[in-house]
Each structure stands twice: as C-alpha cells, then as structure tokens.
Amino acid sequence: MDLEAVIGLEVHAQLNTKTKIFCGCPTGFGSESNTQVCPVCTGMPGVLPVLNKEVLQKTILAGHALDCKIANYSVFDRKNYFYPDLPKAYQISQFDKPICIGGTVSIVADGNPRDIKLTRIHMEEDAGKNIHSSDISNPVSYVDYNRTGVPLMEIVSEPDMHSGEEAFQYLMNLRKILRYINVSDCNMEEGSFRCDVNISLRPRGESKLGEKVEVKNMNSFKAVKAAIEHEIKRQTIMIEDKERIKQETRLWNPDKSTTESMRSKEEAHDYRYFPDPDLAPISVTDEQIEAMRAELPELPIQKLIRFKDEYALSDLDAETLCSSRSLADYFEQVVSTGIDAKKAANWIANELLSFVENIEQMQNFKVTHEMMTELLQLIDSSVISGKIAKTVLGRMVETGNSPKKIVEDEGLTQVTDTGAIEAMVDEVLKANPEIVDEIKNGKDKAKGFLVGQVMKAAKGKANPQMVNKILAKKLS
C-alpha cells in the first residue's frame, strides 16, 4: 500500500526576557535550584500574577515574522492537571483565544520549496523540573521550581509535513527566524527550544487523518528527523501487518534510536480549561499591531535576497552569511570600511568559519570585525600575501592578537623589495641549471617549479606576482 506520513510539530520556544511571565523572578539558566522562585511562581494562596509586557511584545513580533494574524482580543486560561512540577495544579496558558492565529514557515526540503502552515502561537508558563531518586529505600522525587513560570511561546503547526527532512527544515528555519528577531535563544541543550511530534500515516490520496502518535524527548533537530523516520517505518510495518495503531505518547530513545511507549497509565486527560480570573484579557488595536510590525528587523529571506543583489554574492556565500544575524552584521561591518564584498564574503564564509564548529560560536569569537577588516587591508596593501594571511588568521583565532601585531612579531611582512627577490631568483636559477635548460627548450611548465623554489627560499613571504615577473625576465 502506498502510504503517506502526516506530521505536525509543537514547538515550545522560551522567550528571552529578563524575568518570568507573571512575576519578577529571573530566568537565567543553570542557577542553583529553587533560587529563582517567589510566592507567585510557587502558587502560594492569595498571590496575583501580572503579565510581563515584554512577553506579549515578543510573541506579537514572532507572530509578525511568521505571518500570523495577531488577535485583537486574547485571553489566558487555566489548564488543570496534577503533577508536582506544577505547584498551582494548573498551568496558565491560552486555549480558545490565542494571541496569534495562522501563519507560515517557508522551507525547501529535498529541492522543493513549500510553505508550512501554522495553526497558532500562544503564550504560556513553563513547568518545573523533577529529579527522581534512584534509591529504592527512599522513593522520592526532588522538585526545582526555577523553570516554573518561565515564559514560553507554543508554536503549533498544521499537520502539514510529510517527511523527517521537511520537519528538520521547518525547525531550522523557525529557529533562524526567532533568533533573527531576538525573541528566543532557541538552545535545545538548555531547553529553551523543545519539539514534540504528532505523526500518523494514511493511504496516499486519502483526506481523513490516521490514528496519531505523539513522540517526545528529542534533544536535537537530527533526533527529531530520526524519530520521525523511525516512526514512519514502525507504523508502516504495523499497517502492512494489519495491526491497529493506537493513539499514544511515545518517547524517543536516543541510545537505541527507537521510540518506546510511555509507561504512564492510558488515561485520557481532561484539562478543563477555563478563563483565568487572575489575569485581565489582552486587547490590541489594529494600529498597535501595525506599529509593532514596523519594528520587525530584516528577516533571513529578505536579507538573503538583498545580499545577492547588493553585493553580487554567490548563492552559497549569501546563504552562509545570512544563516545568522550576527554573522551577516559582521560581514556588513567589514564591507562598510570599503573592503571588496566578494573578498570579504570569501574570507568570512570560508576561511573564518573553518575555525568555528558552528555559527553560534561567532558571538564569543576572538576575531572581531575590526580585526578581520585590518587583515583584509593588509592583503589589499600588499603587506602580506593571501597565503600568509591564512596563517595570520589562524594565529588571530588562537591568540586574539591583531593581524598587524602578528605580522610584526612573527616577521611575516611580504618581501616586495625587487633587489631581494632578484637575489633569491638568481640563487634558484644557479641551483637548478637543468630546469633552466628545459625551459629554454620550450618546457614552459617547469617554470612553476622554479616559482615554488623561490617562494620556499622566501618562506612564503615573497610577493608572488613579483616573483613571476622577475623570473620571466631572467629566463627570457
């Protein structure tokens, strides 16, 4: 049977605000347990949660960036369930009146461009963290409420994807946009970007959705893709074997690369949502919504088009430079000093990035844009050759010193003194009479060997154009 997978993703992105969504506790990652908690986020009786203005603004900004409709009227609801990570026994979330409706994330997967539709984006508070004791004689769980009340955006896609690759590209593009507009750090290891997958299979051409399975616990985009691909295989085999797929939640096991049924009781939740009487509804006018749209910075796709257009960059260079806003800014700062854009693009996208594992590391990179500019100026003014510049860049990455200092300290200045180069050429010609004869007999290719010998004698510091010129003169 020809089956088609139908995939929807639920992404929880932590908004990068200073404080929690409904109280003034800080949101920093990695603090000592239960040091960022107060009566509001621990759900003490009689407290009043108040919405952090920044949470609303950042969510609306994200809504604009993802082409959502921003609701003029929006309400917080209580989602009721009992679990120790939730001290109030309800989570404050949004139910039937979310702040953002619809939207799209544009992707290219396996060569095909597609617009993945969003259902909605809503604001909610995060829950705490449980640590379960492994000591059988002491069956307890330890609870840390630092994360409780940390602001989240839940971004829900339509069941609009059909492969692991599409889901992977969706997540990459979504993360890129959220980082560009500076609403979330989107760091999966620190839990500021999490993704749950809903996946079902149906015969191709069928419009009715099959029984869906939810998969959780993926800690990287690659794991999301692998979990989807595994789940497609598992469900395909079940359908071919005429087994019924039951609606359930499964956990991704990264060690075994499989999904496993959650051991929890098969008890359908009933969250009994109702409007939270503690929080006033949100009302935004069309004018306010439009004013916020104007605050939107240039988005990755717009920047990509502009870079190709304005700087005449190759697709690959433009895509690399636009993959992060800080890298794109870095490039533009270098170019603003008058450095040739193509040259800057090559040095940044290819040479500089060869020293970093991923582009996010650029933020704490020792080589500032001023230093990069200085390096390229040293090449332009023939103080060093391009080849030496690569060595200098390597030293810059190691030491954090300026290129001028490295060139001076290590005596890397290019030899442009005609007399000095002539002397070296003469030495090489004298040492290789047989090669000189070959060249005189028409074997022009042997010239390259002599150039190499001169550069070797000059420890790479001779100006290559001058070496070529002088050598040609002497051989003629």
């Binding site: 605000t17 003034g24 239960n34 108040v50 120790p84 769980s141």
Partner: protein
C-alpha cells in the same frame, strides 16, 4: 441535566478525591440539583451577548520586565513539608 455515578467517579478521579459508594450517590444527587438550577440560564436569549472572559471590565494589565525579589531557601522551607539540599521533596512520581 442529571449526573450519573460514572460522571461523579470521573470528576473525583480528576480531582484526586476518593469517595465511598454512599458519597458517590449523595454527590450525584447534589451535582444534578446544582446543574438543574444553573440550567435556568439557558432559558435566556443570549444571542447578542459577548461571552464573559473576565468579570471585571479591565484589559491590558502589565508589568515591566524588571527583576524583583525571589525567596531564599530558608523562606521556602517554611511552606514545604520536606525540603532537602535546595529541593522540594515529594513522594516519588511514578511514570
């Protein structure tokens, strides 16, 4: 609207309440009475009325994104049945 025993059982389960058979019968009757009373509202024509999301006609109550005071472990302990090495301690959650 009348509430049957299975609805009482489901409601009790969601509320983590443990009821005796007698209590289930008693609450089934009481809950039915309450719903019957509230059902009177359905006789009103509310076709032109906005649903009430909030009882106070107030919107847009916000706070600035400024760090305030958090509690110390000593203060937290006062409201915790058990507190150990910086954590609230609860009976083990069986997953």
């Amino acid at each position: 609207m009348s509430i049957d025993i299975s609805t009482v059982e489901r409601t009790a389960e969601l509320s983590k309440l443990y009821l005796s058979e007698d209590e289930k019968k008693e609450f089934a009757g009481q809950l039915s009475d309450i719903l019957e009373y509230v059902e009177k509202i359905n006789t009103l024509d509310t076709s032109g009325v906005q649903p009430t999301d909030h009882i106070i006609p107030n919107v847009n109550v916000f706070r600035e994104d400024e760090v305030g005071q958090s509690l110390t472990h000593d203060e937290l302990k006062l409201n915790a049945p058990e507190f150990d090495r910086g954590h609230f301690v609860v009976p083990k959650i069986i997953e």
